[in-house]
């Protein structure tokens, strides 16, 4: 059986604390503006840019794994970035998150 190929990633420590459950917080890594999301204790990271009108989603709230954009109320699934409610029609960009000891890391493309 062929070995499952995984995308090579550069793992970088997340420089901010996990926000309270259901909330979001922004941070930057180089040119990337990212949004750290706490979905009932599980961290997710997406590019901080609403697929609708490209604005920041800082302040958006989360129910289950669904992030609501604070500007127009569009919905996006944090697990895969897929659109879950208008006016978001296209997918957002998600990044993998892993625990490293007691810290969280985000996987960025090499």
């Amino acid at each position: 059986m062929a070995e499952k190929r995984t995308e090579a990633l550069r793992w970088v420590e997340i420089p901010i604390a996990l926000p309270p459950s259901g909330r979001t917080e922004t941070f930057s890594l180089g040119d990337l503006e990212l949004l750290l999301c706490n979905a009932s204790g599980t961290p997710y990271i997406v590019r901080d840019e609403c697929p609708h009108v490209r604005t920041s989603m800082k302040g958006g709230v989360i129910r289950g794994t669904i992030l609501e954009c604070p500007l127009h109320g569009g919905l996006m699934d944090l697990r895969d970035g897929s659109p879950k409610g208008m006016p978001i029609r296209s997918s957002g960009t998600c990044f993998r998150v892993r625990a490293q000891g007691d810290r969280w890391q985000v996987g960025l493309p090499l």
Partner: protein, 430 residues
């Protein structure tokens, strides 16, 4: 000993006979767009209707929308803890501000031209205000308010700014239902079904027990359609529908049927029951009183009948309660914005469980046009599916040239009463 003024107890005495004439009800009230428009103009825009649960608005900025006919209303938790309602429409060019559903906002921003409104509906900002030589009046261009009041954890709205207070409108209802303490109950199931029938056909389907023997035959082994009581009040109605008791028309009448044992007694931990039917009801009631504190449920103000039977209330025009001690099904029957042959059926199941964690479920959506059913989706899937099967067929049948009027009997008195109240609204609007 006389009861203290604080004592809550649901009145059990029968309402006076409403003295209604058993007149034919024209089918056009269910099929005519002209009649639906009269309903909108003179009834829906004058009555208090339930928009949702206050528990969905925990912190400032939490909101849900309420779609009633052609209108959409934003119901929003305010920074001062109050709940306010505003029309969900940008006053610039008429765009809807938010999609249907619930969420959280710091402000409401219109995605068309970016006009921004505060949680209180006030216009905060308009792009390029200097381009409006006539000015931008915050007074004229803020989101218009909608009357909004809360009873028992249910948020009601009224499109009539001159309407009397919700409490006045509810009449007998708080006295009857406050003993359940619904304000602390939690939503355990939530769905909306688009049904291909007039909204009244759906209200009617739950306003009588006459259909049980034919539509829900299997339920006669544990519920008594024959001994159901019907009470009509000023606007609203009640039906006390005996459960934990077989129908008088069932072979197991006056016995503790296997279904009563399995679906009621064993479900709450009463195994190998031996005794009379009355003793079965007493045991069922007693056991619920025992279980209630473990769920944080207050059943102290409920009588034995309320611990066994379905206390079924319809708040005019469109809210139905199937009240039980530990769970209650609440239905809202909303009209379609344009088509009298369609409606939206909101179904929430609420649990008397303030002491345990009940995760708020996401709303599910179904349509009878797609053949969707509720089978397996909640405790009563099969029961509701049987009604969902009937309703589009009732609406289709009403369009027959051979059928002109509904021919109602005494077990259908609540339907007659519903029409009487509806007609009073329409007549008042003439």
């Amino acid at each position: 000993m006389t009861a203290s003024p604080q004592t809550l107890a649901t009145p059990m005495e029968r309402a006076p006979d409403p003295g209604l004439d058993y007149v034919p009800i024209p089918k056009t009230r269910y099929t005519s767009a002209e009649y639906a428009q009269r309903e909108w103009d003179h009834m829906w825009t004058k009555t208090w209707t339930c928009a949702g649960r206050a528990s969905d608005l925990e912190r400032p900025g939490d909101y849900f929308t309420y779609e009633l006919g052609p209108e959409s209303i934003l119901v929003v938790k305010q920074p001062d803890g109050s709940i306010r309602a505003r029309y969900n429409v940008c006053m610039h060019r008429g765009n809807r501000l938010r999609e249907p559903g619930r969420g959280h906002a710091e402000k409401f921003s219109c995605l068309y031209h970016g006009w921004e409104f505060g949680l209180d509906g006030q216009l905060l900002a308009a792009q390029d205000p200097e381009c409006f030589p006539q000015g931008i009046s915050s007074e004229k261009l803020s989101l218009p308010p909608v009357r909004c009041e809360v009873w028992a954890g249910f948020v009601f709205v009224n499109l009539d700014s001159d309407a009397s207070a919700l409490r006045d409108y509810l009449g007998e209802i708080p006295e009857h239902l406050d003993p359940y303490h619904f304000e602390g109950w939690k939503i355990a199931y939530d769905c909306t079904i688009e049904i291909e029938c007039n909204w009244k056909a759906c209200v009617d389907a739950f306003n009588e027990a006459y259909h049980l023997a034919a539509t829900h035959t299997w339920t006669l082994a544990f519920s008594d359609d024959v001994r159901t009581l019907y009470d009509c009040y000023d606007k609203h109605t009640r039906m006390i529908f005996p459960e934990v008791q077989a129908s008088q028309r069932h072979p197991g009448a006056n016995s503790v049927t296997p279904e009563i044992k399995k679906m009621f007694l064993e479900r709450i931990g009463i195994e190998n029951f031996e005794g009379t039917p009355q003793e079965a009801r007493e045991a069922f009631a007693r056991q619920q009183r025992k279980i209630a504190p473990t769920m944080g449920a207050n059943v102290d103000d409920l009588n034995e009948s309320q611990l066994c039977d379905d206390f079924h209330y319809t708040i005019f025009p469109n809210m139905t309660f199937n009240a039980h001690a530990l769970f209650t099904w609440v239905f809202m029957h909303r009209p379609h914005p344009t088509d009298p042959n369609k409606m939206y059926f909101d179904f929430i199941s609420i649990m008397n469980a303030s002491g345990i964690d009940v995760p708020r479920p996401e709303k599910e959506f179904y349509s009878t046009a797609n053949g969707d059913t509720l089978d397996g989706k909640c405790d009563g899937g099969e029961l509701l599916d049987e009604d969902l099967y009937n309703l589009p067929r009732i609406q289709a049948g009403m369009h027959s040239g051979a059928f002109q009027d509904l021919h109602l009997g005494s077990q259908e008195v609540r339907i007659l009463h519903h029409h009487k109240v509806l007609e009073e609204y329409l007549e008042a609007g003439r």
